[in-house]
């Protein structure tokens, strides 16, 4: 098996590798020196990390209310809160 085709010399193999790298546009590193390229290859995680929490909307309920005074925008949760507070006051007075 080994005698069928003689193995090319190391220099020739290097030339082949260099030519191959030029053709396929890959980095030529025959001695496998660690260049730290794997660190640069990685994707950046910054934008994805920042976008985890949604950005606060610049337009708030009070802005819409102020912009369209002719319309009535009921603030149901707040009105519920106020009625409950009034109830608490009434109940505390009833108890005493």
């Amino acid at each position: 098996m080994s005698g069928l085709v003689p193995r090319p010399s190391a220099q020739r193999l290097r030339h082949l590798l260099k030519a191959s790298c030029e053709v396929f546009q890959t980095v030529y590193n025959p001695d496998n020196i660690r260049t730290g390229n794997k660190i640069l290859r990685r994707k950046m995680k910054g934008p994805a990390a920042i976008s985890y929490y949604p950005i606060e909307s610049p337009v708030k309920f009070r802005h819409i209310r102020a912009a369209y005074p002719m319309f009535e925008f009921p603030n149901t949760p707040d009105e519920h809160r106020i009625t409950m507070n009034e109830l608490y006051v009434v109940m505390s007075l009833a108890i005493t």
Binding site: T35, P47, P54
Partner: protein, 110 residues
Amino acid sequence: MATKIPTPGCFINTMIMRDNFKRHMAAEAEAERRALKHIVYNMTVPVRARIQAQLKLAVMPNYTRMNQSKNRCVVSGKGRAVLSEFKMSRHQFRMAAQNGELPGVKRATW
């Protein structure tokens, strides 16, 4: 602080504010950290420069590290049992799913 970090639009909590700050700081420093790490790993660079880069990396504040950010629940601020697909902790997820607020999520039966 030169640029103001935007306030999150979800549930606000001390822990969420801290995590948000860390995320922004880590994103800011990511390029610098990446460059320093590259120098450390690069064997063609002289040894002294590599060591200096490693020290610089070690001295960088903890809030510049991407590992320090934690996915918190966006509704309750809980740091544990958070499903990253929904950004909610397990109880909040359960409540939202049973209310039908999560599209395509239903009780598993097979």
